[in-house]
Amino acid sequence: MILVLVETDANGAVEVSCETITFLRRLSAEGGGVPIDAVAIGELACSPEQLASQLASYGVRDVHHATGEAFASYGGAAWAAAVQGVRQATGAVVVSAAGTPRGMEVLAHVAARTGVAMAANVVAFEGLAPFTVTRQVVGGSALEEMVLDERPAVFTVAGHAVEALPAETPAAGNLVASSPEVGAADLVARVVSSEPPPPDLSGGLKSARVVVGAGRGAGSADGFGDLLELTELLDASLGVSRVVTSLGWRPHHEQVGQTGSRISPDLYVACGISGAIQHWAGCATAKTILAVNTDAEAPMVTKAHYAVIGDLHEVVPAINEEIRRRRSAG
């Protein structure tokens, strides 16, 4: 049996959890139709019945809903105890979750408690018992083939490894109540308070219609003059890569990416940014991307809709000049 931890919001299972189940269905099919069960923990923002019927359409047999005081607020160890409880009760040989911070955390606890390996950010698998997984390493710039030969096989599935698709034949989606035992030690590290996100200090970066992006290609803290002018001419926000914030050229709140802001502007002008996967994670939903880069092979260029190949210190001033020229002419 395959067990998957699902994360939920008011609409039911979140997209990445549905992707994970879609991924696991292939594993299940390889194994001759091994059932997939899901576990959801704590008080849910959606109705458990609605979740069960949604997961049924994704091919989930039983949805174990773990409730109790232990889950009143989130704690990695307590959640892992709940997953463990269901795993033991069902005899699952695979335990999986989406590669979100929570998915990674809970599964790492599960792996540590059971003394087995964990593979993070899996994108593919091959063979069965034991099987080899392919997972993202070096922030997605490289892949690792790793053998999972212990039981349970514990792994998280990278976001967008597959597209979330309902199953051809839905499964039962039975709602099963679960009240797992959680030891006192597992309740020590729990969220004691939570606050809404602090006010957005990024100058509207997250909601900007146009973002001018700058990476290492800017060259130095003083290399932003033309980029800032373009930002102003386009009434845009400035977004930068992590190299830029790590070098102290610009403040962290301007960072776009996995550990920065996620942006979805109509236009992203990415200047001197290589387009590493962690940066891409923050700008992939931009409607149009224009890359300005000296390297025609840079991932940002090959993934962009439009590109200019050249030194941003020549290209950007020329763009600024052209905008000013047309404005004064028009």
């Binding site: 911070p101 690792e144 020590v188 025609a296 439009y306 190949i309 052209e322 905008i323």
Partner: protein
């Protein structure tokens, strides 16, 4: 007085192009150079801040090849005052092995009368991205663990860790001793000063050998992802492309 141990890893600087070694077993750092993971730079910064706020100490530890001493010196240069190097080929050590060796360091220091109340690590390493060493270390030591903290402070005998979550900011308060893994973004790591670097050179680094044989990482090999098909439209080269770019801006309606 809080005595912090911060654990760091020597990794290839992967901000540029990633090149693999011929045997496909690791990332080739001969040209890119080496660094410490960004999360760990923040963990070092937090360790130094906590030590200074509480009149305690910040010790840095690593498991790695002889050259990993460079990363220890980098942490010493920004305020750690002691360092431990478990010399080993990191490729042979999986996350469970590393956690066990770090636990051995904590226990050895404890036996020498210098216990670490708080252990900080990076949330995940920039190269292997295993997301589990800190959690496994906590189980080895029988201590609570908070994961992915951006800010870590000590108040009385407890560590207060703030974690960014999709819905906002979550706070944990856990009595010491504890383990916390750090995600970059909460603090800006400081740069070493010249006196800091000079001082770091003089610190004697404690050398240890692994306490047990590693079980390994279960790695078969590394590969590079296949190149993605591109349908980019190149508007031109250099400054000459400016009119085409501004035409595009007009077409998209972003020029006001």
């Amino acid at each position: 007085m809080v005595d912090v141990l911060v654990c760091v890893k020597r990794v290839v600087d992967s901000s540029g192009e990633v090149v693999l070694t011929d045997d496909g077993q690791s990332v080739d750092g001969r040209f890119a150079g080496y660094t410490m993971s960004n999360h760990e730079e923040c963990a070092v910064e937090l360790a130094v801040q906590i030590a200074s706020a509480t009149g305690g100490t910040a010790t840095v530890a690593t498991l790695g090849e002889p050259e990993a001493v460079e990363q220890l010196r980098a942490a010493l240069a920004v305020g750690c005052t002691a360092a431990t190097h478990v010399e080993a080929d990191p490729a042979a050590f999986g996350p469970a092995d590393v956690a066990r060796e770090l636990a051995a360091v904590v226990r050895a220091h404890e036996a020498e009368g210098r216990p670490h109340d708080l252990v900080l690590l990076g949330n995940d390493a920039a190269d292997s991205g295993d997301f589990q060493v800190g959690i496994r270390l906590a189980y080895e030591l029988g201590r609570p663990v908070v994961n992915g903290a951006a800010l870590v402070e000590v108040e009385d005998d407890a560590v207060v860790a703030r974690v960014k979550s999709p819905d906002g900011r979550e706070t944990y308060r856990v009595s010491l001793p504890a383990v916390v893994t750090v995600l970059e973004g909460g603090v800006e790591p400081r740069y070493p000063t010249v006196p800091g670097r000079m001082k770091a050179k003089k610190v004697e680094i404690e050398q240890r050998t692994p306490a047990a044989e590693p079980r390994g990482s279960k790695r078969k090999r590394l590969l590079l992802p296949p190149p993605q098909p591109s349908d980019v439209q190149v508007l031109g080269k250099g400054a000459d492309a400016a009119p085409a770019v501004v035409d595009l801006f007009e077409k998209l309606g972003v020029l006001r």
